[in-house]
Amino acid sequence: MADEHDHAPAHAPHIHVTPMWIYIAVFLALAVGTLLTWWVSTIDLGWMNTPIALLIATIKAVLVILFFMHVIHSTRLTWVVVIASFLWLGVLFILTFADYLTRIWQIY
């Protein structure tokens, strides 16, 4: 029954100690992302401003989830829950927008 790959004491959790440099690299990426978001908001890119801000925020969130929250080393069941959360979030957004953003009698 025991996991043969487990070098920790018997019955201990399967530990992945993330190397220090990964934490520092993720932190630096998050800081650069923050400065980039701020800088991009000061220049006029027309309709592209919002998608770029969203893209940077999403990349930052994925970095936090994978490395700070250790999802990259989590079990597949955890992956299912994490991915399902965002699928439900997508359902929430898409169905709401399918209603409110298609009311052509309103002027946007």
Binding site: M1, D3, D6, A8, P9, A10, H11, A12, P13, H14, I15, V17, T18, M20, Y23, I24, V26, F27, L30, A31, T34, T37, W38, S41, D44, G46, W47, N49, T50, A53, L54, I56, A57, K60, A61, V64, I65, F67, F68, M69, H70, S74, T75, L77, T78, V81, V82, A84, S85, F86, W88, L89, L92, F93, T96, F97, Y100, L101, Q106, Y108
Partner: protein, 231 residues
Amino acid sequence: MSDIAITDAAPEPHVHHPFLQHHFEDLGQQHEASTLGMWMFLSTEILFFGGVLCAYWVYRIMYPEAWAMAAEQQNKLYGGINTIVLIISSLTMALAVRNAQLGKRKATVGMLFATLIFGSTFLAIKSIEYWQHFHEGLFPGTNFTWNEVPALAPKVQLFMTFYWSMTGLHALHMVIGAGLLLWMMMRAWRGDFGPEYYGPVEIMGLYWHFVDIVWIFLFPFLYLIHGVHHG
């Protein structure tokens, strides 16, 4: 499996880890179950904040000019500094978990304390912003005052309603997080954690990083809307 078998011959002295709950096979299973459970909770939190964000986007698409003008009421410097402060607190939180995994007791307490300090710094800067907005008349209600473009004032007030509720809910999560940090500091100091058992610090970290992610989205949504429609 063999250790489940009950024999009256030689009752093996079963040494249980003091923090192993009786309904789990071993600490590894307990750790996996608590991680999964925390993610279940976080998925409800994602939808909780998602609901407010969704309403925010419906109105932002309806009233783009008002949203852009309202975002200019925000102090981008305070917002930016707070974003960096919160990212640093996430780093120290991650390092607290790492130290707990390695069984470094004092370093764990130290990193948890650093997280608490940065989290409190965030809340202090947020309080200054709230105080300023309150005195500028930007709190929704009968005393709301914003006269730049009178026709847009009700929509700017709507934006500010989102601003106060979203940042308020976020700040509430931070306050709860600060309480959890104090609790974890106490347990870490007591020497509860080590390579075999660090689940509570890890779970606390998941919560803290989630709150950080919420802010990663709130910062561009509430402070950095590019005003393409005027000027």
